[in-house]
Structures are given as C-alpha cells and as structure tokens.
C-alpha cells in the first residue's frame, strides 16, 4: 500500500513532463513569424501575421462564422495583387466558441506563441472584454473589434484598441432622431437585449426621444426565448411604434408574438437584428415549429432599420461590385450576405491601416496611423479616428425593408456618442472603390 502511494505523485510529475514536453515539441513547428531579422513581432520581409478570436462553433457561430473567412478572402485578393509593400497577409483566426475563458486562451496563444503582429476584428463584446486589458498591457494593436460596444473607444485606458462598426449609442441616436421626426406624438415601446448591446442602444434612443413618449420598456435575455409576457406588456401599454435592439432570433420572436396577439405596430429594428435574409428564414422556421406557415418576406415588409455599409442590393455601388468579385473568387462557398460584406469591408480597413503605417510597420506605428485618421472606405459615413477618438464609423442611413431587401430612405446621418451631440445629415458622397480594389 505504502509503496503504491509513493508511486502516485511521481507518476503525476512524469506525466506532466511527458505531455508538456510533447506539447512543447508541437509548438516549435507552429510558432511562425519569429525567425526574421526584423524585431517587430509578426512582421517578416514577406509576411504580416495577424490573428483573431471568432465564434466558429457554438451558439454565435451561425452567420458570424462567415465574417473571418470573408475578411481572409479580401486578404487573399490583396496578396494576389502584390500584398502590402510586398508582404502577404497571413490571417490566423481561432475558435473561441463565444466563451470568454476560451477567448483568453486563444489570444494568449496568438500573442505569445504565434507572435502575431496584431489582433484584428476579435468578435464579441463579452469575449473581447476578456482580453482588451491584456492586449493593451502588452502593447498589441487591437484593431477594429467586431462589436458595437462604445467601450472600445477609450484611448486613455486602451490606447491600442480601435472599434470599427457603428456603435450602439450612435445607432440608437440615429434611429431615435428618425422616430422623433417621423412619429411625433406617437406612443413608443422599447424591446431590447438586457446587456451592453441593448442598454447602449436604449441610451442612444433616450438621448433623442422625449421620455414622455416612451410608454413601455421591455427587455429579454438571450437564454430565455419566452418573449410572450414582454410583448403582451408592450401591447397593453398601447405602443404604436416598437423599437427593438435585438439579435435576429429575438426580432423574429417579437414579430411572431405580436402576430399571435393580432397586434401590428410599426417596428424599428437595429442593424444587428434586421438582416432581411436572416430574419425571413428565422420567421419561417419558428412559425413552422409552432405549426403555422408564414411568408418571411411578407412579415419583414415595412420594418424600419439602419445600415452603415451599402445595401447588398445596390449592385451599381462600386464597393458592392468589388466585394462581390472578391467573394466570387475567394469565398464562393459562402452566401454573399451582410456578414460577408462586413468581413470584406473590415478587411479593407485593415489594409488601409497597414498601407498608412508604411514600409516598415511597427506595432506603435500602425496605432499611430489609425489614430491619425483613415479615409472613408466601404462605409457610408466617415471614420471618427483621431488621437482622442477610437470609435469607428460615425453614421448610417435609415432604411426600410421592402420585398426582402433594405431600401435606403433619406440621407446618411452622423452623430457622436454624447447626450447632446446633434444628429446631422452627412452630405459628402461616398468615395468610389479604387479601381485596383486596394487602398
């Protein structure tokens, strides 16, 4: 007995040794980018290595898992056309399954082992919040986070972090100003996801819509699909317009619950939850589960929303044409939808930043380049990048869903994230995509 006991922990020690040595061997082959003469991590004479954390599996994967391959498709296009100052972009995106603990793990792997130059387009608010401090402490550029949280725009605490997409506060203000003008005197109800996404959106709405007009505020958590009581409360409040900061599944649940109650208010839905293709599919699937048949496109008809990238249907737009071409060549298996457009557009922004950072890019250099401002790219409104602003796209247009596609209504509106900052039309035309397809 005693002998066997004394065996136990040395066995543990031996096991640790064996497996970690084996793991160590595995790492030497995969660790790339460190061997060059250049002292900048991830940069060699021929390559720029960047990494990302993405939900490739798990609950957030449907839809979102298309983004990184789309960005990579654009990088392959750039690589095939000479790269950036002769360097080809290598994009390593690892799966975090939308689990913040996993995000920490994969980002450590990217930074410490793969030696990436930058983390690009890390997806998700709770996930990326888990690593934002780590990246800034280690001075790793954290470019164009894939989340509309206002939290990335904090140059004092996070000098290396930049947001990209229209943040939810700005989006709330833009939707709010439209509602204030077009639904004056009507009763407004809010339906929002009870986290930073929905709360920031509501914050923006409240900056614009008079409080007396808001008759009901209902929230949901993504883990509870029973929205019936919330929708019943909205109906009971007499709301004529319902503003929804929801993900697509909950926009669909909201619409179906209202239909069940025979209630048909005007719906105003945030960009995140209003992709007509996704919505129509979800509406039909959910209705089928409940034993009913509905036409998705008929139900999405008339939903008011906003967009910060050109609409997919505008085939004459030079950016849509470019991204469609890149998509067809390098990412043809994926549908050309909002997520793919997003991925390619944010990929373009990264190439812009690297071109601006010059022939000998450094980590501090690329941060300085972005903070010095980026020219407007595929987005309909310019970027706010400056030394004091790390937010990203400043505005969007209002759109209405017609026959399964978003149709732009009126001008592009821009604003800031302050309570009093005005929402103003942006009159500048969107610059055309460069003929070469590269910044």
């Amino acid at each position: 007995m005693i002998r066997s006991l004394s065996l136990r922990l040395p066995v543990i020690a031996a096991a640790v040794t064996a497996s970690l040595v084996a793991a160590g061997c595995g790492s030497s082959s995969s660790g790339s980018g460190g061997g060059a003469a250049a002292s900048v991590p991830g940069i060699t004479k021929t390559q720029i290595l960047i990494g990302s954390h993405q939900p490739l599996t798990g609950p957030a994967a449907p839809g979102y898992s298309e983004i990184a391959p789309a960005a990579n498709a654009y990088f392959q296009y750039v690589n095939a056309h000479g790269g950036i100052y002769g360097r080809k972009i290598k994009y390593t995106y690892l799966d975090d399954g939308y689990d913040p603990a996993k995000t920490v793990s994969v980002v450590h792997q990217l930074v410490l082992q793969d030696n990436v130059f930058a983390i690009f387009n890390g997806l998700g608010t709770p996930t990326h919040l888990a690593v934002v401090k780590y990246l800034n402490t280690n001075k790793v550029p954290d470019l164009f986070v894939a989340s509309g949280c206002d939290c990335w725009n904090n140059p004092t605490a996070f000098p290396y972090t930049f947001g990209w997409q229209l943040d939810y506060i700005r989006e709330g203000k833009i939707l709010g100003s439209y509602i204030k003008q077009n639904f004056a005197g009507k009763k407004i109800g809010y339906f929002f996801q009870n986290d930073e996404f929905g709360q920031d959106g509501v914050k923006g709405l409240d900056f614009q819509i008079p409080h007396s007009q808001v008759v009901s505020r209902q929230s949901y958590v993504p883990t509870n699909v029973n929205v019936g009581p919330a929708v019943a409360a909205l109906k009971a409040s007499g709301a004529q317009v319902v503003v929804s900061f929801s993900i697509p599944a909950f926009t669909a649940l909201l619409k179906l619950a209202a239909l069940k109650l025979g209630w048909n208010p005007t719906f105003v839905v945030s960009d995140v939850g209003s992709d007509p293709i996704t919505l129509a599919g979800l509406l039909e699937a959910f209705a089928k589960k409940g034993g009913a048949t509905v036409s998705g496109n008929a139900l999405t008809q008339g939903i008011i929303t906003d967009g910060y990238l050109p609409t997919l249907g505008s085939t004459s737009n030079s950016w849509i044409a470019l991204f469609k071409k890149v998509h067809d060549t390098y990412d043809a298996k994926a549908p050309f939808d909002g997520n793919v457009l997003y991925g390619e557009a944010v990929g373009y922004a990264f190439v812009q930043a690297m071109v601006k950072a010059g022939k000998n890019p450094t980590r501090a250099g690329v941060v300085k380049a972005v903070a010095g401002g980026l020219a407007q790219g595929a987005s309909v409104a310019p970027y706010d990048y400056s030394a004091s602003d790390h937010g990203g796209i400043m505005g969007a247009f209002i759109g209405v869903i017609k026959n399964g596609a978003i149709v732009q209504q009126g001008p592009v509106l821009t604003t800031d994230t302050t309570p009093t900052g005005a929402v103003t039309p942006f009159t500048g035309p969107q610059p055309a995509a460069p003929a070469s397809g590269m910044p």
Binding site: G26, L112, Q113
Partner: protein, 363 residues
C-alpha cells in the same frame, strides 16, 4: 506516515513543474495554469463520483460560485491571492453544503437532473443582477506578479506557479482524505449504503460531506480560472463546462487523482494541438473549426473502448504485471482489479467480491 510520503511526492512534482515552467515559453506556462484549473475541478468531481458514488452535472456552477466569490472579494475587499483561493473554496463549499443537503435525498438520474438544473440556472443569476455581478460582461480580476520577481518576469509563469501550488496542496489534501476514515466511509456508502448504515455510518452526512469537498475543489478551480483569465463572466460557466469536467473525470479514470491530471491534460491540450495540426495542413475554415471537437469525441470513444476504466485505469492495468504489489484502488464499482488484491484498510467495509452484473443492478 502517509502524509509525509504525499508531501515528499508533492515537492518532487512541484520541482518538476518549476523546471518545466522555466523551460517552456510563456504560452505553455499559461496552458499549465489552465491545466491546473481543470485538474483541481476534475479531482473534486472524481472524489464525489468515484469515492462517494454520487454524480454531479453541476460542478461548473460551483466553479462559477468560486470565481465570482474571488472576483467580488478582490474588488470590494482587495484581498491578496493567498487569501482569495481558500475563501473562494469556502464559499463554494457552503453552496455545496446546501446542494448536498438536497442531493443526499436523491440518487442516480434524479441527482443528475437536479445538479444539471444548477449548472443551467446558477450562471444566469449574473445576468439577473448585473449591478452585483457585472451582467454578461462579467467582472475583471487583476492579479499581477509580485514586484519582487522583477519587471520583466512573465506574468503567465507566475500564474502557472500559483495555480500549480494550489493544485499540489489540493492533491495532497485529497490524497490524504481518500485514505482517511472519511475516504473509507465514502467507499463503504458507495458500495452498499444499506450495509454501511447497518455498520453505523451516517450515510446522509457522508454524502453531504462529499458534496462539500467536491464543491470546494470546484470553487478553488473557479478562483484559479478567474485569476488566470483575469475575468469572470457567465459565458465561461456553461453547461458544456460541467459536462467537460465529467468527461475529463471519466476519461482520466474515476476516483483517481492521477486520472484527474490526465483528464485536465486532454481537455486543455487536445483541442490546441489538433487546431495547430488542422490549420497547418490548410484545411478549410469550416472543417478546421470543428476538428478539435471531433478529435475530442474520438479520444473519448477510443479511451472508453480501449481503457473502460479511463486512462489511469488502463495504464495501471498495463503496468500491473511489473508492479511488486497490487496497487490500491480508489475506483467505483465495476473498476475492481482482480479479487486476489488485498486492500488493507479498505477491507472492513467491503463486500465480498460479486459479479459485475449483480453490482450494476444495485447502482
């Protein structure tokens, strides 16, 4: 005597870990800390399942309790790390006592169901009370290496040290506990609760105690996870974490502490290693992303086919012909080595050998 041997072994293991942490790169150090988290959590579950014969699908929730306790104590009271770990374990142990009281009345699938509910429901409390628990974004936990180690000292190496030390201490305690009267009593109630009760054991209390110990381990693991990832958020404590712990315990070998180590190694290293291989062979994104999950499944199936008693059970079986005396057994029914084995201290509470079929009938 036993304590001394365990301590000596722990010191040897500690020395090996120290040597490794200095040799390996910063990311491998980080992985060591991650492995340590899983080893502690799995060891706790393994004690519950392998020794006391109770199942829990809710240890991920106890990890959440420990992690949030750690984050809150650090935020509001600014406790140092050496106090945070035991305190988090204690808070989780208290939660374990409450659940254990209810669990002592339940068995088999009913117990699994009740603890499953815990795993699903508890983490979402954080969403319900965002003011206290930070909602979906969670709370941040910032522990930095002491300045005495120097400004350039890798943070991840320090984390690896802290977590490894906590793990070794836990292992020594658990190893001693398993060989103490409590451990023997657990085995007795596991093998035959009626006989154990007739022999004068308080079956209900022993079951609650097993839950407390298991929850304390999970709580410590949660606190270690919080410190390692510098964050506590509900997204880290999903049902799949609880299932992963159970899979790790079964994979490693139920009721053995070394098995917990194997379980932790598999859970942490297999996905990373497979991802490295999959991406370096240029597999398409959709395929590469799902390969780690598939590989994990394959490992699970293969181990269960080849080593039904888990990796540790299998290794022990392979090594049996070379060992001078038969090893002691900690495993649950059905994992019993040949009946010729003497188990010294175990024997008073053991039933005479019965066939596997009969034993399954009682469980």
């Amino acid at each position: 005597m036993t304590l001394v041997r365990h301590l000596v072994a722990a010191i040897v293991a500690g020395a090996v870990i120290w040597a490794l942490s200095v040799q390996l790169n910063a990311f491998r150090d980080f992985q060591m800390a991650e492995i340590a988290v899983y080893v502690v959590a799995i060891a706790g579950l393994s004690v519950l399942l392998g020794l006391s014969g109770q199942i829990s699908l809710g240890n991920g929730a106890f990890m959440a309790v420990g992690a949030y306790a750690c984050a809150l104590l650090m935020m509001h009271l600014n406790w140092p790390i050496w106090a945070l770990f035991p305190a988090s374990a204690a808070v989780a142990a208290a939660a374990g006592a409450v659940v254990g009281l209810a669990a002592a009345r339940l068995q088999g699938p009913y117990l699994a169901g009740a603890t499953l509910m815990l795993a699903v429901a508890l983490p979402s409390l954080a969403d319900q009370f965002p003011g206290v628990f930070g909602g979906d974004q969670g709370l941040s936990v910032n522990v930095t290496a002491p300045a005495a180690l120097g400004a350039t000292f890798p943070q991840t190496r320090w984390l690896a040290w802290v977590c490894a030390l906590a793990t070794l201490i836990t292992m020594v305690i658990l190893a001693n506990l398993a060989r103490s009267r409590v451990g023997r009593n657990w085995r007795a109630i596991r093998d035959d609760p009626v006989a154990a009760a007739l022999a004068g054991l308080n079956v209900a209390w022993l079951r609650v105690l097993a839950f407390i110990v298991s929850a304390a381990c999970a709580g410590l693991a949660g606190a270690m996870l919080a410190v390692t990832t510098s964050l506590v958020s509900p997204g880290s404590f999903t049902l799949s974490l609880s299932i992963a712990l159970l899979a790790g315990a079964v994979l490693g070998g139920l009721g053995t502490l070394t098995g917990a180590l194997w379980g932790g190694l598999v859970i942490v290293l297999v996905p990373t290693y497979v991802t490295d291989v999959a991406t370096s062979h240029g597999l398409s994104g959709g395929v590469a992303a799902n390969i780690p999950i598939a590989a994990y499944g394959v490992v699970l199936i293969v181990v269960m086919l080849v080593f039904p008693q888990g990796i540790q059970g299998g290794l022990r079986r392979l090594a049996t012909p070379f060992l001078p005396t038969p090893p002691t057994r900690l495993g649950p029914p059905g994992q019993r080595p040949p009946a010729s084995e003497h188990e010294g201290l175990d024997s008073p509470y053991r039933r005479p050998p019965v066939s596997e079929h009969q034993e399954e009938g009682t469980s």
